[in-house]
């Protein structure tokens, strides 16, 4: 039986070595003979290499100058033409590139051609000497002994308690990064009974008569543009795509009969997969395609998923018209818009 934890593998008896009985060992082939470089032998080649390195550093200096020419000589204001902006971009980029490139290439070229290149062999340290291990073991034993952590369980237990508790404030701080943990904000949008459907981005209301067959309108709730705070958050939840189909093409499930108006239907534009805007509407096939992961929704079957990773149909916004002929929402969406979340249920 060999000893696995002590000594050299060759002598511990755990490893069989080739030709153990023979005295002959594998010979160290040594290093190849040193070959002098051109710059070592020829003073002219040395001079040339020196010049090349200096030129590379000079290129770096020119690059830095080019950067500052672009930075200071070109003034930008409201009247700046796009071509001037592009010229500055070019100068800044080229300047920085040459400034860094010149130094880097120059230093490597210097080291390769001019700095001494004699070969050096360095011996590897002995792997895991037994004494070092014993010293470390002794030190740890001493620390445990002197601190008295084994003899004083009160101190040990209070230390463990303090360590566990000290992590909790971090959880509190990171939790606060999410401004509102109430999942109900994910269930509610700006849509409510009587809110008019308005064009994105102008915010003008849409008449039912404006939505001709085959049309697609990008819709926001009226009043969204007047919000001063949280406008983008509200928009991200409330955007809707409005389309008109032949009412005969719609397959309506019970309870949703009055959610469309003469074939005009409104669906949330937020994909139920990871929330990209689903707005690629094909007016002949009535497919809605999400550009991110190709989830495809069939508008004629209440936007059920017919392809792709989305798990749920797009929520439908029940709509009708008000007394002036403008399209209005009957209520908010009946299911949360966008991707799933823990409390969605």
């Amino acid at each position: 039986m060999g000893d696995h934890s002590h000594g050299d593998p060759n002598t511990s008896g755990t490893v069989a070595t080739a030709g153990q009985a023979e005295v002959e060992k594998f010979q160290d082939p040594g290093l190849p003979p040193h070959r002098p470089r051109l710059a070592d032998k020829d003073p002219r080649a040395e001079k040339r290499a020196e010049r090349q390195v200096a030129i590379l550093f000079a290129i770096s200096m020119l690059g830095t100058l080019l950067f500052f020419v672009g930075y200071f000589a070109i003034q930008l204001d409201e009247t700046t033409a796009i071509s001037t902006l592009r010229l500055q971009n070019l100068l800044l980029g080229m300047g920085t590139a040459f400034a860094m490139f010149g130094i880097g290439i120059g230093i490597v070229h210097w080291a390769k051609t001019l700095m001494p290149d004699h070969e050096v062999a360095e011996e590897r340290h002995e792997i895991r000497p037994e004494e070092d291990r014993q010293v470390a073991e002794k030190m740890i034993g001493q620390i445990l002994d002197e601190s008295g952590i084994k003899r004083r369980p009160l101190i040990r237990n209070t230390l463990i308690g303090a360590g566990v508790l000290a992590i909790l404030p971090a959880i509190g701080i990171f939790r606060d990064l999410s401004q509102n943990l109430n999942p109900d904000i994910l269930r509610q949008t700006m849509w409510a009974k009587g809110v008019r459907l308005a064009r994105d981005p102008e915010g003008t209301p849409i008449k039912a008569a404006d939505v001709t067959m085959g049309s697609a309108f990008h819709v926001i709730p009226e009043g969204l543009n007047d919000l001063h705070e949280g406008k983008l958050e509200a928009k991200a939840k409330a955007v809707v795509l409005l389309m008109r189909l032949d009412p005969a093409d719609l397959n309506i499930s019970p309870g949703r009969e009055d959610w469309n108006y003469n074939g005009i239907v409104a669906y949330s534009k937020i994909c139920t997969h990871v929330g990209c805007p689903v707005a690629l509407y094909e007016q002949q096939t009535h497919h809605l395609l999400c550009p991110c992961h190709q989830s495809t929704f069939d508008l004629t079957h209440e936007c059920k998923v017919i392809f792709g990773p989305a798990a749920r149909p797009l929520p439908q916004l029940p709509i009708t018209v008000d007394s002036e002929g403008y399209l209005v929402a009957q209520s908010d969406f009946h299911s949360p818009v966008g991707p799933s979340f823990w409390e969605r249920g």
């Binding site: 070959r35 470089r37 051109l38 710059a39 796009i82 071509s83 902006l85 592009r86 971009n89 070019l90 490597v108 390769k112 051609t113 290149d117 064009r199 994105d200 981005p201 849409i206 008449k207 008569a209 404006d210 939505v211 001709t212 067959m213 085959g214 049309s215 697609a216 309108f217 990008h218 389309m243 805007p277 707005a279 690629l280 509407y281 094909e282 007016q283 002949q284 096939t285 497919h287 395609l289 550009p291 190709q294 495809t296 392809f307």
Partner: protein, 270 residues
């Protein structure tokens, strides 16, 4: 005359004759072209235009769209060969025939652009015939296509809301479902862009004047022409396709450069 007959065997005589011939033909075509353009600008159609258009229609389009443009009977698989053209308007004809999409080269997911088959006069006559069948969007006037009056910034906002999801933020086009695609918009005339918006060709939705006003459409065309003229501010656009082409270049070109430097770094100097 004698001098001329003496020089007709001159080595350069053939070349001179060829140049003369080319100049004459080119000149004639240029004159004919301007006449055609002048005619195409008039949007009122005469009874003769309608009559000529009907002849062209019967000869070239009726196979799929049916006599009197009522649409063909559904075929063996329930597919309609060509839809009814009543009420699609002159704008639809000018777009489909003017860009070469119609007559369709072959059936497939969508009609492809090809060299146009009818000249402007014939296209106008076809449009006149289809417009006479029922009211529909007309070919846009010069006024609504005048991009000097358009606002590119406003157009960009409208484009990003209404068009960019299919046609790409840089108007480079994009894929749709089952082999269909939204074409790139570079090099398309303002007239054709306008007509596509009002008529909704193939799977493109209709953007009528109540959705995007004629001024808004002009702004969009102005925006498209502006981004086409000014080029890409960030250097090579690589097809404006985003991470696919850019990533491919980095994975091939960028890695090749890194490998090259690694070899140079570890190589002994001569």
């Amino acid at each position: 005359m004698k001098a001329l007959s003496q020089r007709r065997r001159h080595p350069l005589a053939a070349i001179a004759l060829l140049l003369l011939g080319l100049l004459v033909t080119g000149g004639l075509y240029a004159v004919a072209g301007t006449v055609n353009e002048a005619k195409a600008q008039t949007t009122t159609y005469s009874a003769q235009d309608v009559e000529q258009g009907e002849k062209l229609f019967v000869a070239n389009c009726a196979t799929c769209h049916g006599i009197n443009a009522v649409g063909a009977e559904p075929g063996a698989h329930g597919f309609q060969a060509g839809p009814s053209l009543i009420g699609v308007g002159a704008a639809a004809v000018d777009f489909q025939v003017g860009t070469g999409r119609m007559p369709m080269q072959m059936s497939g997911p969508q009609a492809q652009v090809k060299p146009k088959q009818f000249d402007e006069e014939q296209t106008r006559q076809l449009a006149a015939y289809v417009a006479s069948l029922g009211a529909g969007p007309a070919v846009p006037s010069e006024e609504v296509l005048d991009t000097t009056k358009g606002n590119a910034a406003k157009g960009g906002e409208l484009f990003r809301t209404n068009c960019a999801m299919c046609h790409n933020a840089a108007a480079a086009g994009g894929a749709l479902t089952r082999g269909k695609f939204a074409p790139a918009l570079g090099g398309v005339t303002g007239e054709h862009i306008y007509e596509a918006m009002v008529t909704g060709p193939q799977n493109m939705p209709v953007f009528n004047d109540a959705n995007i006003s004629p001024e808004g459409k002009r702004d969009i065309i102005t925006f498209l022409h502006t981004i086409e003229e000014q080029g890409s501010p960030g250097g090579a656009a690589l097809g404006s396709l985003g991470p696919v082409s850019e990533g491919l270049l980095l994975w091939t070109g960028g890695l090749a450069v890194i490998i090259g430097f690694t070899i140079w770094l570890t190589q002994r100097s001569s």
